[in-house]
Amino acid sequence: MAILVIAEHNNSALNPATLNTVGAASAIGGDIHLLVAGSGCAAVAETAAKIAGVSQVLLADDAAYAHQLPENVAPLIAGIAPSYSHVLAPASTNGKNYLPCVAALLDVDQISDIIAVLSADTFKRPIYAGNAIATVRSSALIKVITVRTTAFEAVAAEGGSASVEAVAALADSGKSSFISEDIAKSDRPDLGSAKVIVSGGRGLLSSDNFQLLYTLADKLGGAVGASRAAVDAGFAANDLQVGQTGKIVAPDLYIAVGISGAIQHLAGMKDSKVIVAINKDPEAPIFQVADYGLVADLFEAVPELTQAV
């Protein structure tokens, strides 16, 4: 039986997280189909059809799916799922929102946030903020899985030539309705795909001071992240929070500035290739995971670093 991957998109463009999720599907092995559920999203389906390794794209194009409301999307997926051995979605806020509903409708447990595929039924996933890694085996007929996309290589966006088949939409549940969205627009790379991330914590003291980090990030072609304390204090937007309960990132270079290194923060960034910590407290736990630690006042070190790179 084939594997169904749910595409992540905003009705006009495919989110790269989809490519990593297809990567996880190819680690399981078998035919891979992709579901594009949205509204006015035919172009997304065309893009999806070119993904290497995808043999079929299902397109559910209906106003009911415009905002991926789980009350609408989950029954659609659950209706299609019985023809598949696995249903995979990225562990994005979107995937986390609808996929557990699909699992419940199918009466199977969901396997959240897998980081490795050991076999078609056995997976690794972090628990306790990544302080332990569980190996779990599923006996479910349909395995419903969210994928930690930083743990899987993206497949090539080009090279495939899948057919696109329309699937009938179900009626809008009417239980919830979309009012508005406040999505930060930025020319900087997305946290999920950035090669370099400069993250700031409470040590930054204000949102104005976060500009120091944006300047450095721009010079490095990177994105800006934040600790929970920085977000709670209003220094940075909520979607920049890196950690156990925020974004999971794994860039080539992660620069933690004025961040102490609580386990909840480490859970979101400790798989970065190279970690730099800038902190004035030599005992800060962040230094335990840093490849390069600099004990310094950030207000001197960051401008100097920006100059030097």
């Binding site: 789980p70 190996t135 930060a184 390069y292």
Partner: protein
């Protein structure tokens, strides 16, 4: 409130709590709280790889559940809801967390007692059974339990009950028969209108939970706490997931301290080759 469920009789005989008054203005909220390892504890994996060592480890209410209780209590203080019922599924010791929730302003508590490991789907089924009995208009859960890191239960409960679903919320505004919620999503924030009954799951920015005062801790000891079993709710504890083993994560290679920004830049360029 329109669309209220019919009045429920007192289910738990012999227990002293006021009968639920199903009048037009009353609205009940159910809050699910989980007993988990305290968030300050760095757990260790057991030597035999069977799990993490929880012996003599501090246990607390899951932080997202504290936020859920706080929100329910605030809704009551605002007059939006009339009764806050807290429920937990777990061992007898989870009564501690239920008492904490009562000290924070919950009116009464239900423990579904089991020593078994219960996965999110079974928890959702048990909560569904409690929802069927209690007929709340609103159920508030945490977005994630910090032990399993599952982030599933609220969504599963929404699917099982057919209630509207609002996950990862940072703001709630109540209106007649519906709620406007703000959700924390990957790119920013999203606003939705939910018809009641609804399921909400809390994100960190929803509120800052209060501390329980000593008088309230004392009062909470007298509030009703019912203990029921999964069997009495007609739910079988089973799972399609088997825990094969639990390992410690790979350790990072120890790093070095650099003395200056210049040395840092040199290392990043010439040793790590990342800039």
């Amino acid at each position: 409130m329109k669309g209220m469920h019919p009045e429920q009789p007192c289910r738990f005989a012999g227990v002293n709590f006021p009968l639920y008054q199903g009048d037009e203005e009353s609205m009940k909220v159910l809050v699910a709280v989980k007993r988990v390892v305290d968030y300050n504890v760095k757990v260790r994996v057991k030597a035999d790889n069977s799990g993490v060592d929880l012996a003599n480890v501090k246990m607390s209410m899951n932080p997202f559940c504290e936020i859920a209780v706080e929100e329910a209590v605030r809704l009551k203080e605002k007059g939006v809801v009339t009764e806050v019922v807290v429920v937990s599924i777990g061992p007898n010791a989870a009564q501690e967390q239920l008492r904490t929730a009562l000290a924070l302003g919950g009116d009464r508590a239900i423990l579904v007692e089991t020593e078994a490991e219960v996965g999110s789907l079974t928890v959702a089924k048990l909560l569904k059974a409690v929802v069927d009995q209690e007929q709340p208009q609103l159920v508030i859960l945490g977005k994630q339990a910090i032990d399993s890191d599952n982030n599933q239960t609220g969504q599963m409960l929404a699917a099982l009950t057919g209630f509207a679903q609002g996950t990862f919320i940072s703001k709630v505004e109540a209106a007649e028969g519906s709620f406007t919620i703000t959700r924390e999503i990957d790119g920013g924030l999203q606003k939705l209108a939910l018809k009641l009954p609804a399921i909400l799951t809390t994100d960190l920015r929803l509120n800052e939970p209060r501390y329980a005062s000593l008088p309230n801790i004392m009062k909470a000891k007298k509030k009703p706490l019912d203990v029921v079993t999964p069997e009495s709710l007609g739910v079988e504890i089973r799972s399609t997931l088997e825990l094969v083993k639990v390992e410690a994560p790979e350790e990072r290679k120890p790093g070095i301290k650099v003395a200056s920004v210049a040395e840092l830049v040199d290392k990043l360029k010439n040793e790590a080759k990342v800039i």
